[in-house]
Symmetry: C2
Subunit: 217 residues, 2 copies
């Protein structure tokens, strides 16, 4: 559910490959506001807990009106859940050689993506994952989000296998992958997620390994 890069600039002539050229004052202000809201929210969630933090308070401390908060994030949950990872994973998956078997391709694509996401903002990423894990409402919405990721994944796999994208086997494969990876992620959080990046990659390897071995124990 990426924010779809708020309209305007670039993309008209040859793709210059430098979108962060100078997004116009307006755009910059929007980004600032968005960041202010999210940062304030994360801080308050940390201090008081998610449920105990009303949107009005977030608005007040972020120096915007409640209306504005809802303009930027349709729901309170979205403040935590909105991300731009999906296109990243999708791209990484497309970059894999066509011959590669699906599970292997996904594994490699994930390695690349995880590293990137993690580097972008490690602290906030961890905070996010912890929140998602601990707040039921967020966990619920998250798995909804996963369903969309599954769909995207399916389309990518459909392309590389030449199957229809509503193919049953394909659906099952992506469903299983997502299920396994989600579980692996939660397991990672349970371990205290201290080792961070390496551990997470190792978990992904083990998870996909189990799948490849036909779920034998």
């Amino acid at each position: 559910m990426a924010p779809a890069r708020t309209g305007s600039a670039g993309d008209t002539a040859a793709d210059t490959d430098l979108p962060p050229a100078k997004p116009s004052l307006r755009e910059r202000k929007k980004i600032q506001t968005r960041q202010a809201i999210r940062r304030t929210a994360y801080r308050l969630f940390e201090e008081q807990g998610y449920d105990a933090t009303p949107v009005d308070q977030i608005a007040e401390e972020a120096e915007v009106s409640p209306s504005t908060v809802f303009r930027y994030f349709p729901t309170k949950e979205d403040i935590v859940l909105t991300d731009e990872y999906d296109p990243l994973i999708e791209q990484a998956l497309r970059d894999r050689p066509p011959g590669e078997p699906p599970v292997a391709a996904l594994r490699e694509a994930l390695y690349a993506s995880i590293a990137r996401i993690y580097q972008a903002d490690a602290v906030e990423t961890l905070q996010r994952i912890r929140l998602i894990r601990e707040v039921p409402a967020l966990r619920a919405r998250m798995s909804e989000h996963s369903a969309e990721t599954a769909w995207l994944l399916r389309r990518a796999l459909a392309e590389r296998t030449g199957r229809a994208d509503d193919d049953l086997e394909l659906r099952i494969v992506t469903g299983a992958m997502l299920g396994a990876l989600t579980e692996a992620m939660y397991a990672w959080v349970d371990t205290g997620m201290s080792g961070t990046l390496e551990d997470l990659s190792a978990l992904v390897t083990r998870a996909l390994g189990v799948l490849e071995r036909g779920l034998t124990l």
Copy 2:
């Protein structure tokens, strides 16, 4: 998330195997009220849609106060989502011979359970599934519920494999299974779920087959 069989009678002496003996006037009224609310709600959801049906209206047409509705179902979503399937599946899984490999055991357990659930109230079951599929809020909560089912499944598999119930491989296996099965169920609904029971069983077979074959396509 079974309602835990509302307290009182039976179970004190030898288990007489007839719990529906005579649950006392009070208990019977409670069951009636619960049914009235749920039935009314399902009817209204059918007529007007889930989102367009306020709890107050359900209360009014079910001849109870709004407070009472919330006493019986903590959230509006629970009116649709509350079920008692989990213990059923758990039992069916425990009834399988200990030597059987996990995936096969689950398959057989599911066959038995699906048949039972379906026979209990086919119409309402279909209505439920359709609602869960179509209303985002319900889908989200449902996957939350699945997480609990996964945990239960994990405990059962932990027992029969002698592994710890927080074993990583075990988590991954159950996660993958649930993911695959959920996807299969949605696929079933997508096909118009006309063939109903047989089709569903066939889908389960195919889903678990894919898992056993290591997600090869």
